[in-house]
């Protein structure tokens, strides 16, 4: 099975707003492109991806309703929902 190299995009829902990314984009990268923090810390600070390799857990968010997903290890798919406010 060969993947086509045409520029495909995926439509995502980030905190309810629609956002388009190129196919092959990780969820963490999509959140950065959308200018959204991935989570708020226990002290209420906004946080975004740090290590990019699944170690630090700073990029975790609620993806498709599943909490605590390491978004740097997930690829965007069409219709995916992300919540970063909890």
């Amino acid at each position: 099975m060969l993947k086509t190299l045409t520029a495909q995009t995926h439509s995502l829902h980030i905190n309810g707003a629609t956002f388009e990314v190129a196919s092959g984009t990780s969820v963490a990268a999509a959140l950065l492109l959308a200018g959204q923090p991935s989570r708020f810390s226990v002290g209420g600070e906004p946080r975004a991806a740090l290590c990019g390799m699944g170690i630090c857990f700073e990029c975790r968010a609620v993806v498709n309703g599943v909490p605590h997903q390491r978004t740097c290890q997930l690829l965007c798919e069409d219709g995916m929902t992300m919540e970063t406010n909890r």
Partner: protein, 450 residues
């Protein structure tokens, strides 16, 4: 639902060391399974660019291509997207599969285990380090490869290690303006290191190539970040404070990539009870750990880079297949010299211990501030009294920082090594069918051949 797999050789990690080990063992007739946390093999140094970028910025990497082609031609079975959370020396590793809807547990039985778990960046706390816009050095590179676009952004690259130059060149090629590279190591140490590379001209040439693509970037040695400054309205980065120890100045930027070289991923080796030599897993000339059927290759045995990882992986793979590895001895020893050079050149300066202020966050998972840590001494006390290291990263980020700041060695590794859903842990054991295994393997192998 959980599943069980039985194999002769189990390799943990599909970076250069793990790929070399798996290929060597499989080519010599062993049944091999490789688990990796990422979606694709290659580890950090050979991390894939996103498909969004194919044909534009992706550089052909022939060493990587050759290694992956050989792995795919071999009989080794690659299982990506697996997070190992438990291992025991009597022959069992447990992992969760990210792709499975129910994140089921897989139990893999092995005769020989090869740990190729690589390294992560060392992060040191400084005021403002938790602001969005502050990344690791390898971290920012990985995110850019995963589709984050940085064209037109002003970037400062800081910290220490050979990664700084490589990543700065990559970011510049992707359209960022890298204004400054702040390398904390002093010029004299770096010059001595460069001079010691005369026996390995390819490594020296690589550095020179990176430098030539960064003509407008200031490469400052003996220079480090003291603070990341937020924009007036709050939560984005607007500048960093840099110092050379005498003078301090402000450098406006949109992004900061800051990492202090590498620390080995040794949690699985610690859990198994392998003997250590300082921070690293102790191995003999055959890469065997203190436990006879367990081998360790690459960065967990000493930060030595790509070429060391490949040859060590090959040695361990051949040993598992009962083959002689005498002919590889020279290459192993040569790379050990390189490792010593790295250690001497990129040792951390004392001033970095003074960077955190009392209110600077050290543990990002639990928002533990520096002031609360100073009152305690032992790692177990620190954990119990402050919750430092008790969050989901389980001390992988704050542990090495606390070790450097307070001379307190993080201890007490235990399973689960990563957070696991209770539902997955409780799942019943059901054997995986041969058909399923073949399907997984064909999927992962064809997907790579774009």
């Amino acid at each position: 639902m959980s599943s069980t797999i039985t194999t002769e050789v189990l390799v943990l990690g599909a970076g250069p060391a793990g790929i070399a080990a798996a290929t060597a063992a499989a080519e010599h007739g062993r049944r091999v399974v490789v688990l990796d946390d990422n979606r694709k093999p290659g580890g950090q140094i050979w991390r894939e660019g996103s498909t969004a970028k194919v044909g534009s910025t992706r550089v052909r990497n022939s060493k990587k291509r050759r290694a992956l082609d050989r792995l795919y031609r071999s009989t080794a079975l690659l299982l990506p997207g697996r997070t190992v959370f438990n291992a025991s020396a009597d022959g069992l590793v447990e992992a969760t599969c990210e792709n499975a809807a129910d994140r089921a547990v897989e139990r893999i039985h092995f005769e020989y285990l090869i740990l190729a778990t690589g390294a992560r960046e060392r992060f040191l706390p400084f005021p403002g380090a938790t602001l969005p816009g502050v990344f690791g050095v390898g971290g920012l590179q990985a995110l850019v490869r995963a589709g984050y676009t940085i064209a037109g952004k002003r970037v400062v690259v800081a910290g220490t290690g050979p990664l700084l130059l490589a990543v700065a060149a990559h970011l510049a090629n992707d359209g960022a303006t890298v204004s400054t590279i702040a390398e904390q190591a002093p010029f004299l140490k770096l010059a001595a290191f460069a001079a010691s590379l005369w026996r390995q001209p390819t490594k020296l040439l690589q550095g020179a190539r990176f430098r030539s693509s960064l003509r407008s970037t200031a490469y400052r040695t003996g220079c480090w970040v003291t603070e990341a400054i937020a924009s007036p309205h709050g939560h984005t980065l607007s500048a960093v404070r840099l110092t050379d120890g005498k003078r301090t100045w402000t450098e406006p930027c949109d992004l900061l990539a800051c990492g202090y070289h590498l620390v080995p991923n040794t949690e699985i080796a610690e859990l198994l009870g392998c003997a250590f030599d300082g921070s690293f897993v102790m191995v003999d000339a055959q890469q065997r750990t203190s436990i006879p059927n367990i081998f360790c290759v690459g960065e967990p045995t000493g930060i030595a880079g790509l070429d060391a990882a490949i040859v060590q992986g090959e040695v361990a793979g051949l040993e598992c297949a009962g083959e002689s590895t005498q002919s590889l001895r020279g290459r192993v020893l040569k790379e050990q010299v390189f490792a010593k050079g790295l250690e001497r050149a990129f040792g951390l300066r004392e001033e970095l211990r003074l960077l955190p202020r009392p209110d600077t966050i050290v543990c990002r998972c639990e928002d533990v501030r520096f002031a609360t840590l100073q009152r305690n001494a032992e790692w177990s006390d620190i954990k119990l009294q402050t919750r430092c290291g008790m969050g989901p990263c389980q001390g992988r980020v704050c542990g090495p920082a606390v070790e450097f700041l307070l001379d307190c060695k993080p201890a007490s590794v235990r399973q689960p090594l990563y957070p696991v859903a209770l539902r997955a842990l409780c799942s019943a054991i059901e054997p995986i069918s041969e058909v399923e295994i073949i399907e997984i393997s064909e999927f992962s192998n064809t997907e790579e051949k774009v």
